[in-house]
Protein backbone atom coordinates (compact mmCIF):
# COMPACT_ATOMS: atom_id res chain seq x y z
CA UNK A 1 0.00 0.00 0.00
CA UNK A 2 1.60 3.29 -1.06
CA UNK A 3 1.42 6.44 1.07
CA UNK A 4 0.34 8.50 -1.95
CA UNK A 5 -2.19 11.18 -1.19
CA UNK A 6 -2.89 11.52 -4.90
CA UNK A 7 -2.24 8.81 -7.46
CA UNK A 8 -3.23 9.43 -11.06
CA UNK A 9 -2.81 6.87 -13.83
CA UNK A 10 -3.69 7.29 -17.51
CA UNK A 11 -6.12 10.14 -16.86
CA UNK A 12 -7.64 11.59 -20.00
CA UNK A 13 -10.24 14.35 -20.09
CA UNK A 14 -12.07 15.29 -23.27
CA UNK A 15 -14.11 18.42 -23.90
CA UNK A 16 -15.42 19.88 -27.13
CA UNK A 17 -14.09 16.92 -29.11
CA UNK A 18 -10.47 17.34 -28.00
CA UNK A 19 -8.26 16.07 -25.20
CA UNK A 20 -7.78 18.87 -22.67
CA UNK A 21 -5.86 16.83 -20.09
CA UNK A 22 -3.75 13.70 -20.45
CA UNK A 23 -1.74 12.61 -17.44
CA UNK A 24 0.03 9.27 -17.71
CA UNK A 25 1.22 9.16 -14.13
CA UNK A 26 1.31 11.57 -11.22
CA UNK A 27 1.88 10.63 -7.61
CA UNK A 28 1.96 12.99 -4.64
CA UNK A 29 3.12 11.61 -1.31
CA UNK A 30 1.85 12.62 2.13
CA UNK A 31 3.81 15.53 3.57
CA UNK A 32 4.83 16.91 0.19
CA UNK A 33 4.32 20.48 -0.96
CA UNK A 34 3.79 20.38 -4.71
CA UNK A 35 3.09 23.16 -7.18
CA UNK A 36 1.42 22.46 -10.52
CA UNK A 37 2.48 25.26 -12.81
CA UNK A 38 1.44 26.11 -16.33
CA UNK A 39 0.01 28.83 -18.54
CA UNK A 40 -3.72 29.57 -18.82
CA UNK A 41 -5.60 26.69 -20.41
CA UNK A 42 -2.90 24.12 -19.60
CA UNK A 43 -5.42 22.00 -17.67
CA UNK A 44 -4.37 22.86 -14.11
CA UNK A 45 -7.86 23.55 -12.71
CA UNK A 46 -9.26 20.56 -14.65
CA UNK A 47 -6.65 18.37 -12.96
CA UNK A 48 -7.77 19.57 -9.53
CA UNK A 49 -11.45 19.13 -10.39
CA UNK A 50 -10.76 15.56 -11.55
CA UNK A 51 -9.01 14.82 -8.25
CA UNK A 52 -12.01 16.13 -6.29
CA UNK A 53 -14.63 14.47 -8.47
CA UNK A 54 -16.01 17.70 -9.94
CA UNK A 55 -15.16 16.62 -13.48
CA UNK A 56 -16.58 13.19 -14.18
CA UNK A 57 -18.07 13.59 -17.62
CA UNK A 58 -15.73 12.82 -20.48
CA UNK A 59 -12.87 11.57 -18.33
CA UNK A 60 -11.22 8.17 -18.20
CA UNK A 61 -8.37 6.62 -16.25
CA UNK A 62 -7.71 6.17 -12.56
CA UNK A 63 -7.65 8.92 -9.93
CA UNK A 64 -7.05 7.90 -6.34
CA UNK A 65 -7.33 10.58 -3.68
CA UNK A 66 -6.55 9.68 -0.07
CA UNK A 67 -6.91 6.03 -1.05
CA UNK A 68 -10.36 6.47 -2.64
CA UNK A 69 -11.03 5.69 -6.30
CA UNK A 70 -12.63 9.03 -7.21
CA UNK A 71 -14.40 8.14 -10.52
CA UNK A 72 -16.20 5.25 -8.79
CA UNK A 73 -17.54 7.31 -5.89
CA UNK A 74 -21.21 8.31 -5.71
CA UNK A 75 -22.48 11.61 -4.36
CA UNK A 76 -22.31 10.54 -0.71
CA UNK A 77 -18.83 9.07 -1.10
CA UNK A 78 -17.59 12.22 -2.80
CA UNK A 79 -19.00 14.39 -0.01
CA UNK A 80 -17.22 12.24 2.58
CA UNK A 81 -13.96 12.45 0.64
CA UNK A 82 -14.18 16.21 0.13
CA UNK A 83 -14.49 16.71 3.90
CA UNK A 84 -10.96 15.31 4.18
CA UNK A 85 -9.61 17.81 1.65
CA UNK A 86 -9.35 21.54 2.22
CA UNK A 87 -10.05 22.95 -1.23
CA UNK A 88 -9.72 26.65 -1.96
CA UNK A 89 -11.28 27.24 -5.39
CA UNK A 90 -10.15 29.99 -7.71
CA UNK A 91 -13.57 31.65 -7.63
CA UNK A 92 -14.05 33.89 -4.59
CA UNK A 93 -17.84 33.34 -4.55
CA UNK A 94 -20.47 35.32 -2.70
CA UNK A 95 -22.19 38.23 -4.31
CA UNK A 96 -22.47 41.59 -2.67
CA UNK A 97 -26.02 40.75 -1.58
CA UNK A 98 -25.09 37.75 0.56
CA UNK A 99 -25.38 38.88 4.18
CA UNK A 100 -23.01 36.30 5.70
CA UNK A 101 -20.31 37.36 8.14
CA UNK A 102 -16.71 36.22 7.80
CA UNK A 103 -17.23 33.87 10.78
CA UNK A 104 -20.24 32.28 9.09
CA UNK A 105 -18.29 31.79 5.85
CA UNK A 106 -15.41 30.11 7.69
CA UNK A 107 -17.94 27.90 9.51
CA UNK A 108 -19.05 26.49 6.12
CA UNK A 109 -15.93 24.32 6.40
CA UNK A 110 -17.48 22.54 9.41
CA UNK A 111 -20.92 22.13 7.79
CA UNK A 112 -20.14 18.91 5.95
CA UNK A 113 -18.17 17.41 8.84
CA UNK A 114 -20.91 18.04 11.41
CA UNK A 115 -23.29 15.93 9.29
CA UNK A 116 -26.89 16.37 8.22
CA UNK A 117 -29.50 17.44 10.78
CA UNK A 118 -26.85 18.37 13.35
CA UNK A 119 -26.14 21.99 14.18
CA UNK A 120 -22.57 23.15 14.64
CA UNK A 121 -21.48 22.51 18.20
CA UNK A 122 -19.22 24.41 20.58
CA UNK A 123 -16.20 22.47 19.38
CA UNK A 124 -16.94 23.41 15.75
CA UNK A 125 -17.16 27.10 16.63
CA UNK A 126 -13.98 26.86 18.72
CA UNK A 127 -12.12 25.49 15.68
CA UNK A 128 -13.64 28.22 13.50
CA UNK A 129 -12.56 31.00 15.89
CA UNK A 130 -9.14 29.43 16.32
CA UNK A 131 -8.43 29.50 12.57
CA UNK A 132 -9.86 32.99 12.15
CA UNK A 133 -7.39 34.19 14.80
CA UNK A 134 -4.57 32.10 13.42
CA UNK A 135 -4.92 33.75 10.02
CA UNK A 136 -5.08 37.22 11.60
CA UNK A 137 -8.73 37.84 10.80
CA UNK A 138 -10.01 38.07 14.40
CA UNK A 139 -10.90 41.76 14.16
CA UNK A 140 -13.02 41.11 11.06
CA UNK A 141 -14.93 38.03 12.28
CA UNK A 142 -18.25 39.88 12.59
CA UNK A 143 -17.87 41.87 9.36
CA UNK A 144 -19.88 41.04 6.25
CA UNK A 145 -17.80 38.82 3.98
CA UNK A 146 -18.75 40.94 0.98
CA UNK A 147 -17.26 44.02 2.67
CA UNK A 148 -13.80 42.42 2.95
CA UNK A 149 -10.94 43.10 0.54
CA UNK A 150 -9.98 40.43 -2.01
CA UNK A 151 -6.97 39.42 0.10
CA UNK A 152 -9.04 39.13 3.28
CA UNK A 153 -11.65 37.08 1.42
CA UNK A 154 -8.92 34.74 0.16
CA UNK A 155 -7.58 34.29 3.68
CA UNK A 156 -11.12 33.60 4.90
CA UNK A 157 -11.47 30.87 2.28
CA UNK A 158 -8.17 29.32 3.39
CA UNK A 159 -9.52 29.40 6.97
CA UNK A 160 -12.74 27.82 5.64
CA UNK A 161 -10.65 25.00 4.16
CA UNK A 162 -8.48 24.62 7.29
CA UNK A 163 -11.37 24.28 9.76
CA UNK A 164 -12.09 20.98 8.03
CA UNK A 165 -8.79 19.85 9.63
CA UNK A 166 -7.93 18.39 6.23
CA UNK A 167 -5.38 15.75 5.33
CA UNK A 168 -4.58 17.67 2.16
CA UNK A 169 -4.82 21.36 1.27
CA UNK A 170 -5.54 22.15 -2.38
CA UNK A 171 -5.30 25.73 -3.59
CA UNK A 172 -6.31 26.85 -7.06
CA UNK A 173 -4.67 30.16 -8.00
CA UNK A 174 -4.97 31.54 -4.45
CA UNK A 175 -3.35 34.86 -5.34
CA UNK A 176 -5.37 35.62 -8.49
CA UNK A 177 -6.18 39.36 -8.71
CA UNK A 178 -4.28 40.18 -5.51
CA UNK A 179 -1.68 42.93 -5.14
CA UNK A 180 1.92 42.26 -4.09
CA UNK A 181 1.19 42.72 -0.35
CA UNK A 182 -1.64 40.19 -0.32
CA UNK A 183 0.22 37.82 -2.62
CA UNK A 184 3.06 37.67 -0.09
CA UNK A 185 0.58 37.28 2.76
CA UNK A 186 -0.96 34.22 1.07
CA UNK A 187 2.45 32.77 0.19
CA UNK A 188 3.42 33.24 3.86
CA UNK A 189 0.26 31.46 5.03
CA UNK A 190 0.94 28.45 2.77
CA UNK A 191 4.53 28.26 3.98
CA UNK A 192 3.51 28.47 7.66
CA UNK A 193 0.86 25.78 7.26
CA UNK A 194 3.42 23.44 5.73
CA UNK A 195 6.15 24.11 8.29
CA UNK A 196 3.97 24.27 11.41
CA UNK A 197 1.51 21.45 10.84
CA UNK A 198 3.26 19.51 8.07
CA UNK A 199 0.22 19.86 5.86
CA UNK A 200 0.37 18.20 2.44
CA UNK A 201 -0.15 21.05 -0.01
CA UNK A 202 -1.09 20.97 -3.67
CA UNK A 203 -0.91 24.41 -5.23
CA UNK A 204 -1.95 25.34 -8.74
CA UNK A 205 -0.72 28.62 -10.21
CA UNK A 206 0.82 30.15 -13.29
CA UNK A 207 3.24 32.56 -11.61
CA UNK A 208 6.60 31.42 -10.27
CA UNK A 209 6.49 34.12 -7.59
CA UNK A 210 3.54 32.39 -5.90
CA UNK A 211 5.48 29.18 -5.24
CA UNK A 212 6.05 29.14 -1.45
CA UNK A 213 9.53 28.50 -0.03
CA UNK A 214 8.38 25.15 1.37
CA UNK A 215 7.64 23.81 -2.10
CA UNK A 216 10.37 21.44 -3.26
CA UNK A 217 8.54 19.93 -6.21
CA UNK A 218 7.13 21.57 -9.30
CA UNK A 219 5.05 19.83 -11.95
CA UNK A 220 4.93 21.69 -15.23
CA UNK A 221 1.74 21.27 -17.23
CA UNK A 222 1.74 22.19 -20.89
CA UNK A 223 -1.21 21.70 -23.28
CA UNK A 224 -2.78 19.26 -20.84
CA UNK A 225 0.36 17.13 -20.47
CA UNK A 226 3.07 16.98 -17.83
CA UNK A 227 6.18 18.25 -19.52
CA UNK A 228 8.46 18.34 -16.50
CA UNK A 229 8.49 17.22 -12.87
CA UNK A 230 11.25 17.91 -10.33
CA UNK A 231 12.69 20.47 -7.94
CA UNK A 232 11.99 24.14 -8.75
CA UNK A 233 15.59 24.61 -9.84
CA UNK A 234 15.40 21.62 -12.20
CA UNK A 235 12.02 22.46 -13.70
CA UNK A 236 12.03 26.23 -13.76
CA UNK A 237 14.88 26.86 -16.14
CA UNK A 238 15.08 29.99 -18.24
CA UNK A 239 14.92 27.91 -21.46
CA UNK A 240 11.83 25.97 -20.41
CA UNK A 241 9.90 28.98 -19.09
CA UNK A 242 10.82 31.09 -22.12
CA UNK A 243 9.65 28.33 -24.44
CA UNK A 244 6.45 27.88 -22.43
CA UNK A 245 5.43 31.53 -22.15
CA UNK A 246 7.29 32.81 -25.20
CA UNK A 247 9.67 35.70 -25.56
CA UNK A 248 12.79 36.63 -23.64
CA UNK A 249 12.34 35.69 -20.01
CA UNK A 250 14.94 35.10 -17.37
CA UNK A 251 14.23 32.88 -14.37
CA UNK A 252 15.81 33.94 -11.09
CA UNK A 253 16.15 31.61 -8.10
CA UNK A 254 16.76 33.51 -4.89
CA UNK A 255 17.03 31.03 -2.05
CA UNK A 256 13.66 29.27 -1.91
CA UNK A 257 11.84 31.87 -3.97
CA UNK A 258 11.58 32.04 -7.73
CA UNK A 259 10.76 34.80 -10.16
CA UNK A 260 10.66 35.65 -13.83
CA UNK A 261 12.20 38.81 -15.23
CA UNK A 262 11.08 39.86 -18.69
CA UNK A 263 14.04 40.87 -20.76
CA UNK A 264 12.56 41.58 -24.15
CA UNK A 265 9.55 41.20 -26.42
CA UNK A 266 6.99 38.41 -26.06
CA UNK A 267 6.56 35.82 -28.79
CA UNK A 268 4.46 32.68 -28.61
Amino acid sequence: MSDSVIQIDNLEVRAGGRIILSVENLSIAAGESVTVLGPNGAGKSTLLKCCLGFFKHGSSGQVRLLGENVPRLGAAGLSRLRRRVGYVPQVLAAHSEVPLTLREVVAIGRSGIAGLLRPLGQNDWRIVDEWIDRLGLGQLAGNAYSDLSGGEQRKALIARAMVQLPELLVLDEPTANLDLFWREQIVGVMDELFRQIHMTILLVCHELEVIPPCCRRVVLLEDGRISSDGTPEEVLTTERIASLYGGSLTVVHNGDRHAVIPSGGMER
Binding site: L52, F54, H57, A75, A76, S79, R80, L81, R82, R83, R84, Y87, P89, V91, A93, A94, H95, S96, E97, V98, P99, L100, T101, E104, V105, A107, I108, G109, R110, S111, G112, I113, A114, L116, L117, P119, L120, G142, N143, A144, Y145, S146, D147, L157, R160, A161, Q164
Partner: protein, 287 residues
Protein backbone atom coordinates in the same frame (compact mmCIF):
# COMPACT_ATOMS: atom_id res chain seq x y z
CA UNK B 1 -65.84 50.03 18.59
CA UNK B 2 -68.18 47.15 17.79
CA UNK B 3 -67.96 48.10 14.09
CA UNK B 4 -64.19 47.82 14.26
CA UNK B 5 -64.44 44.40 15.91
CA UNK B 6 -66.84 43.21 13.21
CA UNK B 7 -64.55 44.62 10.51
CA UNK B 8 -61.54 42.89 12.07
CA UNK B 9 -63.42 39.63 12.39
CA UNK B 10 -64.47 39.83 8.73
CA UNK B 11 -61.03 40.63 7.46
CA UNK B 12 -58.94 38.64 9.96
CA UNK B 13 -58.27 35.73 7.56
CA UNK B 14 -57.18 38.18 4.87
CA UNK B 15 -54.80 39.97 7.24
CA UNK B 16 -53.40 36.77 8.72
CA UNK B 17 -53.16 35.24 5.24
CA UNK B 18 -51.26 38.29 3.95
CA UNK B 19 -48.89 38.21 6.92
CA UNK B 20 -48.25 34.45 6.63
CA UNK B 21 -47.70 34.70 2.87
CA UNK B 22 -45.33 37.65 3.38
CA UNK B 23 -43.32 35.92 6.12
CA UNK B 24 -43.16 32.66 4.19
CA UNK B 25 -42.09 34.14 0.86
CA UNK B 26 -39.77 36.61 2.64
CA UNK B 27 -37.93 33.68 4.20
CA UNK B 28 -37.66 31.99 0.82
CA UNK B 29 -36.42 35.23 -0.68
CA UNK B 30 -33.34 35.32 1.58
CA UNK B 31 -31.96 32.28 -0.24
CA UNK B 32 -33.26 33.11 -3.68
CA UNK B 33 -32.00 36.69 -3.62
CA UNK B 34 -28.82 35.62 -1.80
CA UNK B 35 -28.09 33.20 -4.64
CA UNK B 36 -28.99 35.85 -7.22
CA UNK B 37 -31.73 33.74 -8.78
CA UNK B 38 -34.81 35.91 -8.15
CA UNK B 39 -36.27 34.69 -11.43
CA UNK B 40 -36.74 31.29 -9.79
CA UNK B 41 -39.88 32.56 -8.05
CA UNK B 42 -41.44 33.84 -11.25
CA UNK B 43 -40.43 30.74 -13.17
CA UNK B 44 -41.83 28.27 -10.63
CA UNK B 45 -45.03 30.23 -9.94
CA UNK B 46 -45.82 30.47 -13.65
CA UNK B 47 -45.20 26.75 -14.04
CA UNK B 48 -47.79 26.35 -11.28
CA UNK B 49 -50.13 28.59 -13.28
CA UNK B 50 -49.66 26.40 -16.37
CA UNK B 51 -50.42 23.33 -14.26
CA UNK B 52 -53.55 24.96 -12.81
CA UNK B 53 -54.77 26.03 -16.28
CA UNK B 54 -54.58 22.51 -17.64
CA UNK B 55 -56.06 21.13 -14.41
CA UNK B 56 -59.01 23.49 -14.88
CA UNK B 57 -59.36 22.42 -18.52
CA UNK B 58 -59.71 18.87 -17.28
CA UNK B 59 -62.53 19.93 -15.00
CA UNK B 60 -60.72 20.44 -11.69
CA UNK B 61 -61.71 23.38 -9.51
CA UNK B 62 -61.24 24.86 -6.03
CA UNK B 63 -58.55 23.28 -3.85
CA UNK B 64 -58.16 20.42 -6.35
CA UNK B 65 -56.53 22.91 -8.74
CA UNK B 66 -53.57 22.88 -6.36
CA UNK B 67 -52.67 19.35 -7.44
CA UNK B 68 -51.78 20.09 -11.10
CA UNK B 69 -50.39 23.49 -10.05
CA UNK B 70 -48.06 21.83 -7.55
CA UNK B 71 -47.11 19.20 -10.11
CA UNK B 72 -46.16 21.89 -12.66
CA UNK B 73 -44.15 23.80 -10.06
CA UNK B 74 -42.35 20.72 -8.76
CA UNK B 75 -41.44 19.44 -12.23
CA UNK B 76 -39.97 22.85 -13.07
CA UNK B 77 -38.15 23.14 -9.75
CA UNK B 78 -36.73 19.63 -10.11
CA UNK B 79 -35.59 20.36 -13.66
CA UNK B 80 -33.76 23.42 -12.38
CA UNK B 81 -32.26 21.47 -9.51
CA UNK B 82 -31.19 18.41 -11.45
CA UNK B 83 -29.63 20.13 -14.44
CA UNK B 84 -26.12 21.06 -13.47
CA UNK B 85 -24.81 24.21 -15.16
CA UNK B 86 -21.43 22.53 -15.69
CA UNK B 87 -23.04 19.67 -17.60
CA UNK B 88 -25.59 21.64 -19.58
CA UNK B 89 -23.23 24.60 -20.04
CA UNK B 90 -26.28 26.85 -19.62
CA UNK B 91 -26.40 29.47 -16.89
CA UNK B 92 -29.22 28.81 -14.40
CA UNK B 93 -30.77 32.22 -15.13
CA UNK B 94 -30.87 31.43 -18.85
CA UNK B 95 -32.40 28.04 -18.05
CA UNK B 96 -35.03 29.73 -15.87
CA UNK B 97 -35.78 32.14 -18.70
CA UNK B 98 -36.38 29.20 -21.04
CA UNK B 99 -38.61 27.38 -18.55
CA UNK B 100 -40.48 30.59 -17.68
CA UNK B 101 -41.32 31.37 -21.29
CA UNK B 102 -42.28 27.73 -21.91
CA UNK B 103 -44.63 27.68 -18.91
CA UNK B 104 -46.11 31.05 -19.88
CA UNK B 105 -46.64 29.72 -23.41
CA UNK B 106 -48.36 26.62 -22.06
CA UNK B 107 -50.50 28.69 -19.66
CA UNK B 108 -51.71 31.03 -22.39
CA UNK B 109 -52.26 28.12 -24.77
CA UNK B 110 -54.46 26.59 -22.06
CA UNK B 111 -56.31 29.89 -21.50
CA UNK B 112 -56.90 30.07 -25.26
CA UNK B 113 -58.37 26.58 -25.22
CA UNK B 114 -61.08 27.65 -22.73
CA UNK B 115 -62.76 29.67 -25.51
CA UNK B 116 -62.42 26.82 -27.93
CA UNK B 117 -64.23 24.47 -25.55
CA UNK B 118 -66.77 27.15 -24.45
CA UNK B 119 -65.52 27.02 -20.87
CA UNK B 120 -65.12 29.86 -18.37
CA UNK B 121 -61.51 30.80 -17.54
CA UNK B 122 -62.39 32.95 -14.50
CA UNK B 123 -60.80 30.48 -12.11
CA UNK B 124 -57.40 30.63 -13.73
CA UNK B 125 -57.47 34.38 -14.44
CA UNK B 126 -57.89 34.90 -10.69
CA UNK B 127 -54.76 32.85 -10.16
CA UNK B 128 -52.70 35.24 -12.25
CA UNK B 129 -53.69 38.25 -10.16
CA UNK B 130 -54.58 36.48 -6.91
CA UNK B 131 -57.54 37.10 -4.70
CA UNK B 132 -56.28 37.99 -1.23
CA UNK B 133 -59.55 39.64 -0.23
CA UNK B 134 -61.29 36.30 -0.74
CA UNK B 135 -58.80 34.52 1.50
CA UNK B 136 -60.58 32.34 4.08
CA UNK B 137 -59.41 30.48 7.17
CA UNK B 138 -59.12 27.25 5.14
CA UNK B 139 -56.58 28.99 2.87
CA UNK B 140 -54.75 30.40 5.89
CA UNK B 141 -54.55 26.93 7.43
CA UNK B 142 -52.96 25.49 4.29
CA UNK B 143 -50.55 28.41 3.94
CA UNK B 144 -49.59 28.12 7.61
CA UNK B 145 -49.03 24.36 7.33
CA UNK B 146 -46.65 24.84 4.39
CA UNK B 147 -44.94 27.72 6.21
CA UNK B 148 -44.44 25.46 9.24
CA UNK B 149 -42.79 22.81 7.02
CA UNK B 150 -40.64 25.56 5.57
CA UNK B 151 -39.52 26.73 9.02
CA UNK B 152 -38.77 23.13 10.01
CA UNK B 153 -36.68 22.70 6.86
CA UNK B 154 -34.65 25.85 7.57
CA UNK B 155 -34.08 24.80 11.19
CA UNK B 156 -33.00 21.28 10.17
CA UNK B 157 -30.80 22.34 7.25
CA UNK B 158 -29.72 25.73 8.58
CA UNK B 159 -25.98 25.25 8.16
CA UNK B 160 -26.33 23.51 4.78
CA UNK B 161 -28.53 26.30 3.40
CA UNK B 162 -26.08 28.90 4.71
CA UNK B 163 -23.30 27.13 2.79
CA UNK B 164 -25.42 26.73 -0.35
CA UNK B 165 -26.46 30.39 -0.23
CA UNK B 166 -22.78 31.37 -0.13
CA UNK B 167 -21.93 29.16 -3.10
CA UNK B 168 -23.12 25.75 -4.19
CA UNK B 169 -19.62 24.99 -5.46
CA UNK B 170 -17.89 26.00 -2.20
CA UNK B 171 -20.49 24.06 -0.23
CA UNK B 172 -19.86 20.95 -2.32
CA UNK B 173 -16.10 21.45 -1.88
CA UNK B 174 -16.62 21.41 1.89
CA UNK B 175 -18.44 18.07 1.67
CA UNK B 176 -21.99 19.40 2.10
CA UNK B 177 -24.69 17.20 0.52
CA UNK B 178 -25.61 19.99 -1.89
CA UNK B 179 -27.75 18.06 -4.39
CA UNK B 180 -29.86 16.48 -1.65
CA UNK B 181 -30.53 19.69 0.31
CA UNK B 182 -30.88 21.84 -2.81
CA UNK B 183 -33.48 19.48 -4.30
CA UNK B 184 -35.56 19.52 -1.11
CA UNK B 185 -35.31 23.31 -1.08
CA UNK B 186 -36.56 23.51 -4.67
CA UNK B 187 -39.51 21.20 -3.97
CA UNK B 188 -40.35 23.27 -0.89
CA UNK B 189 -40.05 26.45 -2.96
CA UNK B 190 -42.54 24.96 -5.42
CA UNK B 191 -44.94 24.13 -2.57
CA UNK B 192 -44.66 27.56 -0.90
CA UNK B 193 -45.14 29.43 -4.17
CA UNK B 194 -48.05 27.26 -5.31
CA UNK B 195 -49.94 27.50 -2.03
CA UNK B 196 -49.44 31.26 -1.72
CA UNK B 197 -49.84 31.88 -5.41
CA UNK B 198 -53.60 31.18 -5.46
CA UNK B 199 -54.11 33.75 -2.69
CA UNK B 200 -51.72 36.52 -3.58
CA UNK B 201 -51.26 35.95 -7.33
CA UNK B 202 -48.39 35.04 -9.58
CA UNK B 203 -47.22 38.61 -10.06
CA UNK B 204 -47.44 39.86 -6.47
CA UNK B 205 -45.67 36.83 -5.06
CA UNK B 206 -42.48 37.93 -6.78
CA UNK B 207 -42.43 41.26 -4.93
CA UNK B 208 -43.20 39.59 -1.60
CA UNK B 209 -40.30 37.24 -2.17
CA UNK B 210 -37.70 39.69 -3.44
CA UNK B 211 -38.43 42.93 -1.55
CA UNK B 212 -38.33 41.79 2.12
CA UNK B 213 -35.07 39.87 1.49
CA UNK B 214 -33.50 42.80 -0.34
CA UNK B 215 -34.49 45.14 2.53
CA UNK B 216 -33.16 42.70 5.15
CA UNK B 217 -29.79 42.48 3.38
CA UNK B 218 -29.53 46.27 3.56
CA UNK B 219 -30.37 46.36 7.26
CA UNK B 220 -28.56 43.44 8.88
CA UNK B 221 -25.71 41.02 8.37
CA UNK B 222 -25.74 37.38 9.40
CA UNK B 223 -27.81 34.46 8.12
CA UNK B 224 -30.22 34.19 11.06
CA UNK B 225 -30.81 37.92 11.37
CA UNK B 226 -31.46 38.24 7.64
CA UNK B 227 -34.04 35.45 7.84
CA UNK B 228 -35.75 37.02 10.86
CA UNK B 229 -35.87 40.52 9.42
CA UNK B 230 -37.02 39.30 5.98
CA UNK B 231 -39.87 37.35 7.60
CA UNK B 232 -40.88 40.37 9.67
CA UNK B 233 -40.76 42.75 6.72
CA UNK B 234 -42.63 40.22 4.56
CA UNK B 235 -45.38 39.90 7.16
CA UNK B 236 -45.47 43.69 7.55
CA UNK B 237 -45.78 44.09 3.76
CA UNK B 238 -48.68 41.65 3.50
CA UNK B 239 -50.50 43.12 6.50
CA UNK B 240 -49.58 46.78 5.98
CA UNK B 241 -50.44 46.74 2.28
CA UNK B 242 -53.86 45.31 3.02
CA UNK B 243 -54.62 47.82 5.81
CA UNK B 244 -53.61 50.77 3.62
CA UNK B 245 -55.71 49.46 0.74
CA UNK B 246 -58.71 48.95 3.06
CA UNK B 247 -58.45 52.40 4.64
CA UNK B 248 -57.79 54.25 1.36
CA UNK B 249 -60.05 51.99 -0.74
CA UNK B 250 -57.30 51.11 -3.17
CA UNK B 251 -56.41 47.82 -4.93
CA UNK B 252 -54.95 45.42 -2.34
CA UNK B 253 -52.34 43.70 -4.50
CA UNK B 254 -50.93 46.94 -5.82
CA UNK B 255 -50.72 48.43 -2.30
CA UNK B 256 -48.82 45.40 -0.99
CA UNK B 257 -46.30 45.67 -3.82
CA UNK B 258 -45.89 49.44 -3.33
CA UNK B 259 -45.63 49.07 0.46
CA UNK B 260 -42.96 46.36 0.25
CA UNK B 261 -41.04 48.38 -2.35
CA UNK B 262 -41.19 51.40 -0.04
CA UNK B 263 -39.67 49.28 2.74
CA UNK B 264 -36.73 48.48 0.44
CA UNK B 265 -36.31 52.18 -0.30
CA UNK B 266 -36.36 53.07 3.41
CA UNK B 267 -33.86 50.30 4.16
CA UNK B 268 -31.54 51.66 1.48
CA UNK B 269 -31.73 55.10 3.11
CA UNK B 270 -30.98 53.61 6.56
CA UNK B 271 -28.07 51.63 5.08
CA UNK B 272 -26.70 54.75 3.41
CA UNK B 273 -26.87 56.88 6.55
CA UNK B 274 -25.38 54.13 8.66
CA UNK B 275 -22.43 53.75 6.30
CA UNK B 276 -22.07 57.50 6.00
CA UNK B 277 -21.91 57.70 9.79
CA UNK B 278 -19.27 54.97 9.93
CA UNK B 279 -17.05 56.43 7.24
CA UNK B 280 -17.50 59.96 8.53
CA UNK B 281 -17.31 61.26 4.98
CA UNK B 282 -20.43 59.92 3.37
CA UNK B 283 -18.45 58.66 0.41
CA UNK B 284 -18.57 54.94 1.07
CA UNK B 285 -20.52 53.30 -1.74
CA UNK B 286 -23.59 51.36 -0.75
CA UNK B 287 -23.30 47.62 -0.67
Amino acid sequence: MSELIVWLADWAPVMVGGAVAGASTGMLGVYIIGMRIPFLGVCVSHAALAGAVFGSLFGLSGPMLLVPALAGAIVTAMLLGMLEPETTRININVLMGLLFTLSMGLAFLGIGLFDKFDMSDNNVRNLLWGSLIYCRWSHVALMSAVAAVQVAFVVLFYKEMRAIMFSRFHAAAAGVHVTFVWTIFLVLTAAVLTVNFQTIGGLMIYSLMANPAAAAFLLVKGHGRALGVAMLLGAASGLGGFVISAVADLPTGAMIVIFSSTLVGLSAVVNYWRRRGKSGLGRTPMR
